[in-house]
């Protein structure tokens, strides 16, 4: 099955190419980049020299749909909303890695993203691609809104406790930390080496566009509207996200009870590893893999639950989950092409 990747000069696309190369049923058809169309791909990304030296193509819905079965859009916000309609009408399945189809509420989108939303009918068709939670809907989807990196780590960390009704829903605080690749390849002082190396920064306090996305999925799963506190930090490393999540419990619970609940919840989910009681995961332990690892601790002094949830932001937080969704859409085992062991050290 041939796949097109749009947004070929970004890190999301690069990871997709790596993953598809390892996938038995997918191959890279075209790589599209309007800004660099005509250039050889390996000139922008020399690690692909001898592997993918083809010219980058410009967007052509006609041609792409004729030659490809599935399209991954790894484009900046507000680009997908213009390209997806042209692809959908040709009958191509789309997996969009941007935020354009994630929020059901158009007013929320406008408030947090500050530009025009996608077409509402398409938003309604889109399935939110949190693979472990919405697998059945994804099976039948034609358009996937692939979740954001922070929302993936946050939602997988919180959904079991929310569904159990043990959580005080007003108490949720997510202290999130990310490596710098999450900001992409676009130049900016906040990705400038000498500013970021040996530095830890908090950013976008109360203003991150992932807040409404997290609240939407938590509210859906929790059953009532949830408002969170969410703070993002930039950590001097390339890949990795950790969400340290705090929730007050409605009943007195012990760590092992919560651990049991999570283990049960994720028992058939190969990419969520609930770590043994007394241990917590580090980001490097999922590096380059599609795992989301979760550690749990209840402090008996406060009866507050701390959840540590880690992912590789470019894999489970973006391209890996996109492949997992492609697997589900095609009826393949969701692990197909994603079973590599994390790179360590």
């Amino acid at each position: 099955m041939r796949a097109t990747i749009i947004g070929g000069t970004g890190y999301g696309a690069i990871e997709l190419i790596k993953l598809i190369n390892n996938h038995p049923f997918l191959e890279v058809g075209s790589v599209v980049s309007n800004s660099q169309a005509g250039n050889n791909f390996s000139e922008s990304y020399p690690h692909l020299y001898g592997i993918n030296d083809h010219p980058l193509e410009s967007f052509n819905a006609e041609k792409l749909s004729a030659q490809n079965d599935i399209v991954f859009l790894a484009t900046p916000s507000s680009v997908s909303s213009t390209l997806v309609p042209r692809l959908m009408e040709k009958g191509v399945k789309c997996i969009d890695l941007s935020g354009d189809f994630r929020l059901r509420s158009i007013s929320e989108y406008e408030m947090w993203y500050k530009h025009a939303p996608a077409d509402e009918s398409l938003i309604n068709q889109a399935v939110y691609g949190l693979s472990e939670i919405y697998g059945e809907k994804i099976n039948n989807a034609k358009l996937i809104a692939n979740p954001g990196c922070y929302p993936t780590a946050s939602a997988l960390g919180l959904i079991p406790i929310l569904k159990s009704k043990l959580a005080d829903e007003g108490s949720i605080i997510i202290d999130a930390k990310s490596g710098v690749s999450g900001a992409g390849r676009g130049l900016s002082l906040t990705s400038h080496y000498a500013e970021i190396n040996e530095n830890l920064k908090a950013y976008k306090l109360g203003a991150h566009q992932h807040i409404p996305e997290i609240e939407q999925v938590l509210s859906d799963e929790g059953g009532s509207p949830i408002t969170i506190s969410f703070t993002t930090h930039l950590v001097p490393m390339t890949r990795g996200i950790m969400c340290t999540i705090y929730v007050n419990l409605n009943e007195t619970m012990k760590t092992n009870e919560i651990h049991q609940l999570y283990s049960e919840f994720y028992k058939n989910k190969p990419f969520v590893r609930v770590r043994p009681e007394g241990t917590v995961p580090a980001t490097k332990e999922v590096l380059g893999s599609n795992y989301c690892d979760i550690g749990l601790h209840v402090d008996p002094r406060t009866n507050r639950l701390t959840i540590i949830s880690v992912i590789d932001n470019l894999v489970k937080g973006a391209s890996g989950q996109a492949i997992q969704n492609a697997n589900l859409m095609n009826g393949w085992d969701e692990r197909t092409g994603l079973e590599n062991i994390p790179m360590y050290p």
Copy 2:
């Protein structure tokens, strides 16, 4: 005035030597290291070649007290408690950078540190050296329990809101992140380069020995017993601590009102910089300096206050605050020798 430094092979001592070198009224008398006595100092620390090539000395209370006016103990926990009595009885002033004299409760010390506490009468004499808060007591102290790194950042971030009575005291969560130098020079897999680089780890969940210290100072200043949630993370950088602190407010407040309250509180404290509304500090912005920088944000959606407090763990979190305390004890301007600009980038 001559100063002895005990624990001469650790990072705390090295920073003290750097700071004392820059201080107009202090000079390094002896540097003591029982484990490396007799070795040249610059063999262990070649950056000192040509600056301090003297042999390290072994501990001798008699000699140290005869030749020095003040002693800084930068030793591991449980060492100071045996050395300080022998120095105090000779009449030397002591500033202890370890945790041995910080906790007033002996049972808390035993519970969190897991070894025998210091002599109770000395604990009672010790003044907790959080310079901005206890300046008057420090003026007259003979023994300073220099605060821990996390407690310094946490307490300076929280005390103004606690004293204002606007904080819901049961809601305090401190999500703390530290560079690796805080773990010292002792070899351990958790300081091994390939394990830590490109990695973010949470550690000691609910079990960090700074928890009772933070709770003690917050309870003292808040006026009633306070229990916190406190999570520590290891960030792949050498220096720097950030505490991201969450507090529910008892009344509806705006960021500018809280900012005003903090600015007022710290207006005569040269080492606390309350950052302008809308901005938050990054750890690199205090690197190598004695500043504690604080950023504030109230989320109107939750009426929860987020406080970002950053320090250099080896300066304001250890040796710099020790010098600041020495200044106060000697009646010098607290800024003496500490006015260097942070190193950037």
Copy 3:
């Protein structure tokens, strides 16, 4: 085919497990670690949680040879020399990643390694596993001395020019730089995070044990005894080796002529990528892959050739080349299980 890995707590073993997991014809039989026998593997390496939770085994030649077809020894120097004889006599093929069987000269081994050498008859049986150069001998080998990391990058960078007789053999200087994982997981101040991060160190000037290994292979291929200058540096990163190599040319040459010569030499070698004229490779461009990338530049002002050769020290410089050799020994395509794209960024 089942493979045993000996030295299971080191980084070499960990990379072997990752690579074998991706290999269609190999599977991990036992993992041996005398020091941690009985412990669960994923306790030492939590990234393997749920993937390899088996207990580490102790060394038992009888059992290992009965159950496995091939043994990879990722043990420290001087361990393999005692284990290999016991495995060879049982008829098991061995690939040794240590330096114990690389040097033909016993006196050189003693001089540079400072301990007793392996049995001479086994040394004589061992084939030096530089896959691109000794493929035919490797096909028929029973014992492979897998090359060192620096020798791999150095030899692949130099052999074409040496064989062409264009090089002034007395002029060879190899300025080598390595990430810290090359030093292994053993604790040491030179792998201590705060000492290495933000630091660049040269080490073992004129004393590195890879010097005789490089000189042996260069002399073999150049046809006469070659003495090199070789300086190693520790770079603050986890993985990657770059050798910047300087050679005076015997005749006036242009970069494109040298480029042509190298491209021709490596045209059927899938893991050596000679980069286009005017470009040079960076270490990250081979991260996690088995590639050795080479860049070439002749300075017309000096007629000196600069060769930039990069590898991932744990893959092509150790475990990846070991798998490549296993492929050759078994008559499989040398690329089997090794075709993943480098991880970028």
Copy 4:
């Protein structure tokens, strides 16, 4: 004495401000940045909050010369050449940190810098500010061409052996490695965090604009025209330069003889530390200081000398040496304001 800094938004200027703050006889008059004139300085550089919150000024030769005694130009290449004449005619002393006045040969400047050179009469007035070598000329200079970072480390490492006539001048190879801050604050993919972190790159092979500068100073001191091989590498760290230099010796020498020669040469030069035989300096051992540390090793197998020379590129490689030159120009001890101990770790 008041000093103006031009180029106020770059890292060179920031380091000058830090150093001048520590200097007993200098104070910062104005900070000039045409691109950001009017903005508060601490908005661009929040580490200066509360320290320097003044607005950045635009360039005004009249006003600057009336109010200041000395001007430091930390501007990009080709800017100084237009500003210096306007300052010199007002009688202000200038220290230029760019390359505009370093090369005596106008054709070399045009060839390597690819734009128009400065006025030739000013070039002739300029004194090359390598403080340890040209101290007497600097004393009387009105215009200092402050050396480049690589040239400083290279020249201090090579001059003693060149002056001794023991060096084969045609054999000089400088393998140079730099932290990323050397590339400045301007945005570029080669300073983009995710591209540089965990990566080692060689760049500008045979094309670096510091080549003619190094050759000029080496030729001056060696007494005859010298052509070098010079390769630059970008190391994933913020600060620090190491030059690993290779020179064939004309006579058989031992390390201790070379060490003696260097120690003698630099015996009255407080900022050059010739390290004990058997040791070599690491970049972190000079971090934040004005030291140039040198290690020496003669390989008896090749009779080739290896010189390791390290500096902090922003201090001895730029702003620190500029202050050292200001000290010399004003008849102050060259150490004034520069005696801080390196920051370690």
